[in-house]
């Protein structure tokens, strides 16, 4: 990649990181990963111009996958990442430190609407894959059939997508947890489902020999979670791709209806813009996430009606069971099991161990009242229901030119949340809970299984529900008709040549399960199409548009 600034390699020893250990004092193999061709944007003090064959904006599940695939095809790839590169050996168990380092806005982003929904996403090399729970579910078959048969997106059916799911699982090293990593919360969750006769899914997770530290959401210091910063990013870099960190993209550059690059700012250590950069390439891949990708498109004065529309949020409602016996919920692997029995109703039931500081934020009361609840922390099983939402929100630009998410939970989704919370409470009581704390302002706890009916007796009012999410999607969704989605059946922005989307925004609809593997499989499929189009263009001159129109 010819640039005005030669990318520097990050050396392990030179950054005070722990070098790989020997047999006597071994360290996890992920500690020794090399990151060549990385430029720390904070070290650049003058305006810069970069040139490549393909620019990839964002290094999460979609961006890193697309970048590695493009590099494998022989393209000169430049990755641009707004966050920093944090090596595995720098991860700690301190939530305050890690949330400030790895999360956008220190984890305080809100989706505005009824009710407001707390949203967390990664801002670092590897994106949200660094902070997710490592769930690697394929898209449910009924969703893929809907995409192919109802939405007319050819090749997105179960058969067409199977090789891409296989490939994604190979990259991610997907495996279930070993039994020796199960905590008491896992055993209780299993027991509750067994007593109700509900089948339980053993979660496939992207990891190599997880030892159950349960620090997934703060970055995995054991190196077990195979996030993008230990898989596709170092692989792409080792094969010659380049990465610039602390580089925030503001907008896409165009020549007529052809994307020719991006423009943005290099950030200082304090996160403030220091100098400008431009990057030029015939292929621009946006993978900044379902909030910021439409933000970049809107700042680029693209006025496609569907850009930012169709936002889905996968709302999560927390349900906490308090048990007589001690559970020690912080001991044992994160989310070993799910209940998928109610997926067709739009309800997924899971559980997770949450650090006390984070759990405390969601419990009611102040002062002594709050202390009384938190004194039972070691007796709590924190479960949750994830809802496959039907409502659609929007991403809009604020007066500060930043993207904001607007989403109102519709009546049908409110009812699905009630159903999911009721089912989760039923599981917890079946497991032996003495009290269940609910995410409703007008019904904060129930003490017996018979009280579950009170959930349904309340009016279905969205404003009384406390929700959070870590999955947003479909804000630049794929659709055959430009009036239905911002991108076409290959993830290319309708009407623009050389501008494609490779993040959760491209998902045609809400999928009801953790989206990491779906994002990767779609990125693999679409990247193959872009590579074919670029090859075709080379053979036939510039007559073939990359990504634009229908392939």
């Amino acid at each position: 990649m010819p640039t005005e600034h030669e990318p520097a390699s990050i050396s392990i020893a030179g950054n005070g990181n722990t070098p790989p250990g020997d047999a006597a004092d071994p360290v996890p193999p992920e500690y020794g990963i090399a990151y060549p061709n990385v430029t720390d944007g904070t070290t650049l003090t003058r305006d810069q111009v970069f040139v490549a064959d393909a620019i990839v904006v964002g290094t999460g599940a979609g961006g890193a996958t697309a970048a590695a695939r493009l590099r494998d095809a022989g393209l000169d790839v430049l990755m641009l990442e707004e966050g920093k590169l944090h090596r595995t050996e720098t991860f700690t168990t301190d939530p305050g430190t890690m949330i400030r380092r790895l999360y956008r806005d220190a984890g305080t982003t809100m989706i505005l609407g009824r009710p407001p929904i707390l949203f967390a996403e990664g801002k670092c090399v590897g994106g949200s894959t660094v902070i997710n729970g490592g769930m690697s579910w394929r898209t449910p078959e009924r969703i893929l059939l809907h995409w192919e048969r109802v939405l007319g997106l050819e090749g997105l059916g179960p058969k067409g997508m199977e090789p891409y799911f296989d490939e994604a699982e190979r990259i991610l090293h997907v495996e279930p947890n070993h039994e020796d990593t199960f905590g008491r919360n896992s055993h209780l969750f299993l027991e509750g489902a067994r007593r109700l006769g509900w089948p339980v899914e053993h979660n496939p997770r992207n990891m190599k020999r997880c030892v159950g530290l349960n620090n997934c959401a703060l970055g995995c210091p054991t190196g077990a979670k195979q996030a993008m910063h230990v898989t596709e990013i170092p692989r792409a870099l080792a094969h010659g791709a380049s990465l610039i960190t602390n580089a925030r993209v503001d907008r896409v550059l165009f020549l007529g209806t052809r994307a020719v690059g991006v423009r943005g700012r290099l950030l200082g250590e304090d996160g403030r813009p220091r100098c400008l950069f431009q990057a030029h390439a015939p292929l621009v891949v946006l993978a900044a996430g379902a909030r910021h990708t439409p933000g970049i498109l809107k700042r680029s004065w693209l006025r496609g009606r569907m850009i930012g529309r169709g936002l889905h949020t996968h709302p999560n409602a927390k349900v906490i069971g308090i048990f007589e016996q001690r559970i020690d919920p912080w001991v044992g692997a994160h989310q070993v099991f799910h209940v998928h029995r109610f997926l067709e109703e739009g309800v997924l039931i899971g559980y997770a161990a949450v650090p006390p500081g984070i759990l405390a934020m969601g419990l009611p009361g102040l002062g002594e009242e709050h202390a009384a609840l938190m004194s039972k922390y070691n007796h709590m099983l924190s479960a949750a229901t994830l809802v496959e939402d039907q409502s659609e929100g929007r991403v809009v630009l604020g007066i500060d030119r930043q993207p904001y998410m607007l989403f109102n939970l519709g009546l049908r989704d409110v009812e699905t949340v009630h159903r999911g919370v009721a089912l989760t409470a039923e599981l917890l009581f079946a497991a032996g809970a003495k009290q269940v704390l609910l995410p409703f302002a007008d019904l904060q706890s129930i003490d017996t299984i018979d009280d579950i009916r009170r959930i349904y007796e309340r009016p279905p009012v969205a404003a009384t529900i406390e929700l959070m999410t870590v999955h947003i999607m479909s804000s630049t969704r794929m659709a055959v008709d430009p009036r239905m989605g911002a991108t076409n059946a290959s993830g290319g922005v309708h009407g623009i040549d050389g501008l494609v989307i490779a993040d959760a925004g491209a998902l045609p609809s809400s999928i009801g399960v953790n989206p990491q593997e779906t994002i990767m499989a779609l990125a693999l499929r679409n990247t193959d199409r872009w590579i074919d189009m670029m090859g075709e263009r080379r053979r036939r001159g510039a007559a073939v548009a990359i990504g634009a129109g229908q392939p």
Partner: protein, 167 residues
């Protein structure tokens, strides 16, 4: 500015990040709503205030301004909302708690403000090492053990099958 915390460890009290008056209000809010009783009587208010001030520094600009404005509302809103001709920081913790409890159960911006404050204060409080000790939680110790365990497992696996272990 670095100051000595209550337990003797050095913490960074970012006084410059919040105006002195807002810091006084924040300290009064912490005293009012902090968990107490049930094993949570650790004298760590200064550490919590410092941690909250540091967290506010990492919020987006809009939220930072909102917090500053909200703290001013708390400080000077007492005549209107508590019928007391005193600033919030002059109230006793019990009086402060009573006022903020009403706001917590109300609606609109005051409810959102209390939710935001409890969000930051409870997070800082319950992640304090003395509180974690009281809860008998040793996440860092467990991390050290498990990092080593996995390293040994992977090392053994690499020795038995070097081909599958190549990065």
């Amino acid at each position: 500015m670095a100051s000595e915390s209550t337990d003797g460890s050095l913490v960074t009290v970012s006084r410059g990040l919040l105006a002195r008056a807002r810091l006084r209000t924040l300290r009064a809010v912490v005293a009012a709503i902090r968990p107490r009783g049930h094993g949570f009587d650790q004298p760590i208010d200064d550490d919590v205030v410092a941690e909250v001030a540091e967290s506010i520094r990492h919020l987006p600009m809009g939220l930072r301004v909102w917090f500053e404005t909200g703290l001013a509302l708390v400080e000077y809103g007492t005549p209107l909302y508590a019928r007391r001709m005193r600033r919030f920081s002059s109230l006793t913790p019990a009086e402060g708690l009573a006022l903020l409890s009403r706001w917590e159960h109300g609606r609109g911006l005051r409810n959102a403000l209390v939710r935001g404050l409890r969000f930051l204060i409870f997070f800082s409080f319950y992640q304090h090492h003395r509180v974690l000790e009281a809860l008998q939680i040793d996440w860092p110790g467990r991390a050290a053990t498990l990092i080593r365990l996995r390293a040994e497992l992977m090392h053994r696996e690499a020795e038995s099958d070097p081909a599958s272990h190549a990065h």
